[in-house]
Structure formats: C-alpha cells, structure tokens
Symmetry: C2
Subunit: 320 residues, 2 copies
C-alpha cells in the first residue's frame, strides 16, 4: 500500500483529479474491473472510465486532461495500443500510471509512475495486478473524497492471501469434478454479478476462448432473464463465481432458475472458502479471490482436455 | 426533440445535475449504450453510468442523489426490477425519466417524467427507444455544459429515418445470403467497436440467444486480439456491424486478420448504405442505424431456420 500511497500523493500535488480511467486490453483490462466497480459504487464526485486501450487511442474521451489519472496495464509492458494510450494520455496532460510485470518495457518507459506487480502461483495476492488496480482506486478515493471504509479495506486486503492459499487447496476435489464434467463441452457460459462480472468475463475470454479454444460468453446474472436464459437446456455448461456481497440475490435468482432446468452449473462460492471473514469488504475483493482460485480448475481442465494453457493458434505466430 | 427539451429544462429547474445514469435490463439496457458512449466521449464534467436495473437496486451507487438523473426503459413498463430501480432513484431524490411503449404502466406511474416511444417496423427511427435515450443524453449535455455539435446532431437525427428505410430495402439480397449461410450454425459471434459494441451485444443477447437459441457472444473489435481471436477457425460465424466513425480502424484491423483465416464473416457497413451523409455525426448514430437494419437479416434468419422470432422456451411460461 505504501508504494500506491506515495504515487497518489505525488499525483495529487500536481493534478486536481476529478477523473480516473482504467485502460488496457483483454485480461489487462478485465483486471481493472474490480477497481472500476468499486469507484462506480463508492465515489460521490470522482468520474470513472474503463476502456479498451485502442478505443482510448482512437476516440479519446474529452474528459481526459490535466484533471485525469489514467491507469494502464500490460503484462510485458509491450502491448502496442496500451503504450500508445499512455502516450496519448501524457499528451493530454493527464497523470499516467503503468502496471506491468516487466521493467524496463515500453509501458514502464512511457508511464509517469510505474508499479511492478507480482504474477504467478507464488505471488502474494495483494501484490498482483488486479490488487494494485484496486488499491489505486481505493487510495485515490480516500485521498480525494475521504473514504470511511479505508482502514477496514486495507486490513482486508492484507488478510486475503491466507484465504486464497487455503481455498486453492480446499477446492481441488470440486475442481477435479468439474474439469472432467466440462472437458468435452464446446460452449461454456460464465456468470457473475457486481465485481464478479469482471472475473467471469476474464475466465471467458482469457481461459476458455484464448487458452482452451472453447466457445464462451459471460452473462451478467441480472441480465440472464432478459434474453440469455433462453439458451439454457439441460446440457448447457455454466460456471458461476458467486458474489458474496449485495448482488448475491441476483446470482441466487439465476441459480434457482438454472437448477430447475439444468444440473451442469459449477458454482464457486467465496463464502464456502472463508471470504465471509472479510465482512462487508468481501464484495469488492471477490474478484481478487476468484481470479486466483479459478486457476486450480483451469489447470485441471487443461490436463483433462490434454490442451495446455500455453498453446496458441495465432498469438506470437502471426502478425496482427 | 421538443418533448426531450421540455423534460430536461424542467429537470434542470429543480436539480443541479452532475450525474446521468442509464438503467434497464436486456435490450432495454443495451438500447442505452449509444447514449452512454456519447456522454463518455463528449462530456467534460458530467458523470455517466450504465447499469443493469437489479444491480442498481441492490448496489445503488452512492452518487445517486438529488444531482442525478436516472433514465430507465422497459418495453411494457412492467419489468419488476426496473420499476424498483425507478422507485429507489426517486427515494434518493434523483430525477427519473421512464421510457416505455406502454402507458399506463408501472414504470410510467413511477417515473417523474415519461417518454412514450414508437416501436416496430413502421416506427420513425428518431422516435424509437434508443433514439430517445440518445436525445436525452444530447439535450442534457447541451443544456448543462453546452455542446457545439448540438445543431448538427439534431439535424442528423432527422435525416436518419430516410437512410434506414432505404437501407432496409437495399440490404435484402445480402441479408438473404447470410441468413442461409448462418442458418445451421450453433454459435455466432457478433463484433463491434465504439457505440456499435452496443448493437452487437444486443444482437447477441436478444436475437441469437433469446429469439433463436443460438449460442452467442459479443467481441469488442479492440479486444479481439487479446484472447477471443484464438477461437477463430475457418468455420466460425462472425457478424460485424462496422463503425463509420473513429473506431473504424479497430474493426478493420480485426477484419484483416479474420479474412486471412475465415471467410464466414458477415460485415454490415453503414457507409455502404448512406451513413456517410451524416458526416461526423454518423459515429454516434451508427447503433440507431444498425438496430433497425439488422432486423431484415433477423427475420430472414428466423424464416430460414423455421424458428419464429416470437418463440420462447421460458419467457412468459415460467415464473422467475
């Protein structure tokens, strides 16, 4: 938190910040969803944006200027459109913060402030990309508007790693069951509500589509009854990451219906794995939990399908 | 425009508006995407939100209060969670505007201001739900911040109907071709960028999933290379509604790639059907064009599949 606190303090010395934008591509955009959701819920004055980097480059919002902080992420720091977005934000006079796993890198060179995050099985949850995005949102809100829940949230962030490490062990039998249940499916829907929509979206695009070549789509639990539910039949594969916070009722409503017509819905519930210990903070930290714990299932699914998570058809092989 | 102008004028007499929220479910949420996109791009001060009605009810953003306008839509005015969202916004002191095709209705009874929109094949484009959402955004921006493009946009809105009517005739042969091309597909991806993402999302959830029971997902053109493109093979069915504005380069980049590995991508391009006449305004009005013109294809697809657009498995048949 100290690093984030210093960056925000320094930014606020030079910028009268009223706008916070999260910018990236793929998993480096969806990783910002918890931060975006938190600010959309909790901020009273701050404006928040969440946008694909190339769209940001080509249709830069007019509110981007000296009063904006633009926070960007790229794993290797070399995603061309994210680097361009950073340069565009710099040119508009905004403060820029680059989150990356690689320094030096073009993003680290372009961003005014750089956060090197941890990545991989042994990384501490609080030091991962998604957590740093969230901590930037928390710190900006607290320093700009004041946030009564700040201390509780900082404490909860510190408790998260222990919950995740234990959950990754406890979930193994359940994950094995569904890895084998879903291994031959050609379509898998992911579901979520509140900030968990971001985790469900990320699982859909980064794991099922990108790493397993399985057709997939995310369905917001609150949107399920307004179109998407008509694709439900007894064989449809669903994966829900259940909200532990205020939107849990949306998930339960969808599940009550799905369970009448289908019994192939894999539901992961943070409350079964200790997220309840975090009290009201759990709602906002759910994605930091799910993004890690789902990895156990992803590895088992890849094994069951004999399709390693590292195989690509196009990425790194063709220009685009 | 007169009706919208009066509503906004009246709201601003009583509210110091700094926040605009668009709230709905399914097609009544996605119909607001052009309005949301427009304000996200053009507003310098106004905050904008776009949220599922039930999420709004359960996790009402803290910025909802006397300085907010909450704009909600429901076709029959009876979507339970949208009516509840309107009541929640009223209780917080926000101004509420209900868009509906049915008056009287619970939404029309709850909203402080009501707009009765036109719907169906013979409706005037400017008087449809999506257009009224957009006009609310335009008028709010203009009256609150001043908007230099206001007159041009009002004029463009007035020209749109003629373009759409002609396009719906001109597109028939192309639509027939793809209705037969796609009739046996079990998965169809939709694609778009900028405001066209909203039209592509709507086609995915309301037509393919809801009305045709075809698995579907929307892919933002700028996100395509960051995960989703790995599902591309020579047989994957894609439907792109091509942006005529600043994000067109994102679509072209995706298409250049898709066309190397796949020849089953149906691309509708507004520039082939007169949208160029609208100059810079076309970017923002693209969805009002596509939402109408795609209906020609939808009807032909339903015919080719012998699956009427009105058939439902669950809606109106089971409680949920």
């Amino acid at each position: 938190m100290q690093k984030v606190r210093e960056i925000v303090t320094n930014i606020l010395k030079e910028h009268a910040v009223d706008t916070v934008y999260f910018v990236g591509c793929g998993g480096s955009l969806s990783g910002f969803f918890p931060a975006k959701y938190f600010l959309s819920c909790e901020a009273k004055k701050l404006k928040v944006g969440y946008i694909n980097a190339n769209e940001f480059v080509h249709a830069t919002p007019k509110e981007i200027g000296a009063n904006a902080v633009v926070i960007l992420a790229s794993q290797r720091g070399d995603t061309a459109e994210t680097v361009k977005a950073c340069q565009a934000a710099n040119e508009k006079g905004a403060a820029t913060v680059g989150l990356t796993f690689q320094v030096p890198s073009p993003l680290a060179d372009s961003a005014q402030h750089v956060i090197l995050y941890e990545f991989g099985d042994d990384s501490i949850v609080e030091n991962q990309k998604t957590s740093y995005g969230f901590k930037m949102a928390l710190e900006l809100l607290h320093q700009i508007e004041g946030y009564a829940g700040y201390d509780a949230m900082v404490k909860a962030l510190g408790s998260l790693n222990e919950i995740v490490v234990k959950a990754k062990k406890d979930i193994v039998p359940f994950a094995i069951k569904y890895a084998w249940e879903f291994k031959d499916d050609s379509v898998i829907y992911t579901m979520g509500s509140g900030p968990c929509w971001g985790s469900a979206h990320q699982e859909s695009i980064c794991i099922f589509m990108e790493m397993q070549w399985i057709n997939s789509s995310v369905i917001h639990s609150g949107e399920y009854f307004h179109g998407p539910f008509e694709i439900t039949d007894k064989n449809t594969a669903f994966l829900m990451m259940k909200a532990t916070g205020r939107t849990r009722e949306l998930d339960d409503r969808a599940l009550n219906f799905i369970n009448k017509f289908n019994n192939r819905c894999m539901v992961i519930d943070g409350l079964d794995y200790g997220m309840g210990e975090l009290g009201w903070c759990s709602e906002y930290l759910d994605p930091l939990f799910y993004n890690n714990v789902i990895g156990v299932f992803n590895n088992l699914l890849a094994d069951a399908r004999k399709h390693p998570l590292t195989v690509r058809r196009y990425m790194w092989k063709f220009p685009y």
